[in-house]
Symmetry: C2
Subunit: 253 residues, 2 copies
Amino acid sequence: MSVEMVQWLDDSESLGVRERRFDLHRGERRVPGVLWTPRGAAGTRPLVILGHGASGNKHQDYVLSTARRLVRHYGFAAAAIDGPVHGDRRHSGPADSRAVFLHFAQVWSSDEQMTDEMVADYVATLDALQSLDSIGAGGVGWWGLSMGTILGLPFVAAEPRVRAAVLGLMGVAGPTRARIEADAHKIACPVLFLVQWDDELFARDAAFELFDALGSKDKRLHAAPGTHGALPEEAFEESERFLAKCLGPGPWT
Amino acid sequence: MSVEMVQWLDDSESLGVRERRFDLHRGERRVPGVLWTPRGAAGTRPLVILGHGASGNKHQDYVLSTARRLVRHYGFAAAAIDGPVHGDRRHSGPADSRAVFLHFAQVWSSDEQMTDEMVADYVATLDALQSLDSIGAGGVGWWGLSMGTILGLPFVAAEPRVRAAVLGLMGVAGPTRARIEADAHKIACPVLFLVQWDDELFARDAAFELFDALGSKDKRLHAAPGTHGALPEEAFEESERFLAKCLGPGPWT
């Protein structure tokens, strides 16, 4: 994958954070993404790729705020791409969040290539972004919960450049449970695994099973009361601190 | 309880931390303790009371290092007292750690007053130390795992001055399990609950049951791989950060 296949769509800046939307073309496949870097960034720095949850998109509130904090607090780069049938990949059908959620559940159940295609999208995105002078071959982190773990855990397992991963709000569950469990065993990098104690979508025991399955020796599980969608602010702070500790707090200029 | 019942035994200083051993006399009962404060401390500050684990004592490595870090990093005061049949309360019998452990297990099973007496010791210690000008009526924190939760959780439940507690390495288990569970329901302050994923002394499920039983709305569970005694350094860092956030990071002078 070469940088020539990236088409930059816009370029803006807010409070020291530069934001650029792009389309990455991988064969016939268009991968819509967004990149955040510090204003005036030059030289190698860690890159964190963020995977959004089902019914969200690459630019939803918590993806944007987490990305911006990683850029502003640590000088990291951050990037996100839309998931399958989400965001700018959504060409038809209702955009209502429940409809998107249901659509994803259907694709998850029926499309055996979905995971592999998303892993390939992430690898291509990483290749393209690391070819930029302002990113280079720095450490790579992953942050993705729920659907961001369904799709991100296989990416982390497949990609040796990933040196730290925040995963969770998911268990050994769902149509791809065997794949998820097998991939979990392959993961060796440090992991922060987040659990919501009263998760109504993925049972606590299934989440514990997934934490158990992670091959990483350096892993920790943080749980807080509340439902699937009620992740506390503290979990974001811990995510940020964990990634910074693993990837190096900088300063990156 | 008045300060006149405290007998100060010594007074030393190392790297900015003043350390004073004391005996608190509560009726016929002698409570051996140690207090750490910043050098030259004057005025109100938070106080964290630390409970050691079975076979340890008030001055063992992790109690001392945690206390010193709270003093040096945040300007807090910290204190610890020996548990029943531990440290300077140990008048007879072998001092070998396994023998002390077994002795505690026997007392835990047979002495129905043990918990109440230790709670009274902690309340008296808190009264005495808060009467000092260099501590005063600041926020109070608890840190105690394993035996430090067996004895400390009832103290936290009984003492409204405690505003934050680090508990864990324990479950709804053992001779006082009913008391522990009932007291857990009464706790309302923020709690950080630590679990070792492969704890061979207290089953993971029993630990989860205790976390569930905590009445606090603001609680979080942090788990790491490893056995009962293999608490990672990160757990101490998180304890410190949690207590500082809840009690106020200062500066306390």
